[in-house]
């Protein structure tokens, strides 16, 4: 349970981090909060040659409102976002979600971008970014590109980030008037990874429902304002479409049941605010 050896460098700027990624490619890993990566290194599931530590980068610790989005820099911790005074009005979904994200001792150091870049299918922040139709800012030594969340998450722990790219920031679109938000999660213990998590954005025209923890990546559906049995039918179809599998924690049957039940609860929670 000790990491294999590696070289280590601290990068103050995105530019320096990108140059190092260009030079070392897949052999280098970005270390931000380390709350996923360090555990992976300790278990030797990854053995990079070089760690590029951005955790102390002031330039990457910015949290700003820009173009109708809250832009969260690569070194911003989950706790820093959670404690942002205006968060409840800017992104009302997130205060519902943070208590479910691991534990405060992990959120203190874990970064928002790190969770998104890691792309664990049961992690809450990728689910939120997708359901809020957010985007990611990817930067390499020669260019910067912006990808929508639905193009970014490509599978289990897999994203569209190229080996020489840094996930420089993520952008959460600010809440609009007449939007409501809902979140429900089932996990074995408080703070564990979600067996199933459902995030909902309701607006006057319809619903957007995201589910994490079931498929190999968070998935989202857009529906009109369904009610009653039409909502049950839609949730049932979504639950089956997620292709739930049996695993040692829970059966596929139970997972589908949880999607239907939590889905309904989260939709009702969101619609009550519209």
């Amino acid at each position: 349970m000790k990491p294999a050896s590696f070289d280590y460098v601290r990068a103050e700027s995105a530019q320096l981090a990108c140059e190092l990624l260009k030079e070392h490619g897949e052999d280098a890993r970005i270390l931000a909060g380390g709350q996923s990566l360090m555990a992976i290194l300790n278990m030797r599931l990854a053995q990079p040659e070089l760690l590029v530590d951005i955790s102390r980068s002031v330039a990457l610790s910015t949290l700003v409102v820009r173009d109708g989005c809250l832009e969260v820099g690569a070194a911003v911790t989950q706790a820093a976002l959670e404690r942002r005074p205006d968060l409840a009005s800017e992104l009302p979904l997130l205060p519902l979600v943070f208590p479910h994200i691991s534990h405060i001792q992990i959120r203190n150091r874990g970064t928002v971008c790190g969770s998104v870049a890691h792309a664990d299918p049961s992690a809450e922040l990728p689910l939120c970014l997708l359901t809020l139709q957010g985007s990611v800012v990817l930067r390499s030594a020669k260019q910067q590109r912006i990808l929508k969340a639905d193009q970014f998450f490509t599978g289990m722990l897999s994203t569209a980030r190229a080996g020489d790219e840094l996930l420089e920031a993520v952008r959460f679109p600010l809440a609009q008037p007449e939007q409501g938000f809902g979140f429900r999660e089932f996990s074995r213990r408080h703070g564990d990874f979600a067996v199933c998590a459902v995030a909902v954005v309701a607006h006057t025209q319809g619903l957007r429902v995201g589910v994490g923890g079931v498929a190999d990546r968070p998935m989202v559906r857009e529906w009109p304002l369904l009610e009653g049995s039409a909502l049950d039918d839609a949730l049932n179809e979504f639950a089956w479409a997620l292709d739930a599998r049996d695993d040692p924690h829970i059966s596929a049957v139970a997972r589908r049941h949880i999607v239907r039940r939590l889905g309904r609860q989260a939709v009702e929670q969101a619609r009550a605010q519209v």
Binding site: K2, D7, E12, G34, M38, D53, R56, Q105, R109
Partner: protein, 167 residues
């Protein structure tokens, strides 16, 4: 801030403020802060449990903030402030308010998890005091969910924390 590559095969100087005193030593890049504290500096109050961030036994305060020493490299904390359980008691080993409450309520048995819980609680309670807020029992239990204790059943730990938080 250095942007020099620290080579894996060498030991690198690491200096930081530990419990209010500057301490210096050497660590290869792969050395975890837990091992650095215990083996390099000889401070064995910080315990090593799961070594992947789950159990909470190794929790220390980094720049005042509770986090896992097992998910932190020694070279990462160069120039920063680290507080461990050894720094809680005052002059002559007089227990802090929090430690005394743990003793009074029998909030530890084997003591393996205790150092981590004390460090998390010290950060958390300080933050609540800044806000002038007193936590509910549910909030105490949520904070404690980041720590595994297999002896006490948590009840006396919750009692000790509630007493300190509402003092």
């Amino acid at each position: 801030m250095t942007s020099q590559i620290l080579e894996r095969s060498k030991r690198h100087s690491v200096t930081f403020e530990l419990n209010g005193r500057l301490r210096q030593g050497y660590a290869p890049p792969r050395m975890l802060l837990t091992d650095y504290l215990r083996h390099e500096l000889g401070l064995t109050g910080t315990h090593v449990g799961c070594e992947h961030g789950v159990c909470g036994a190794c929790t220390v305060r980094l720049e005042g903030v509770a986090c896992r020493a097992c998910l932190t490299l020694a070279v990462q904390v160069d120039g920063l402030r680290v507080d461990t359980v050894e720094g809680l008691a005052g002059e002559g080993g007089v227990l802090s308010e929090l430690q005394a409450a743990f003793k009074r309520h029998h909030a530890l048995q084997c003591g393996f998890c205790t150092a981590g819980i004390l460090m998390s609680s010290a950060d958390w309670l300080a933050r609540l005091r800044e806000q002038g807020r007193q936590p509910s029992e549910q909030e105490v239990r949520e904070m404690l969910s980041g720590h595994l204790c297999r002896c006490t059943g948590y009840t006396p730990i919750v009692k000790a924390l509630m007493e300190v938080a509402h003092a």
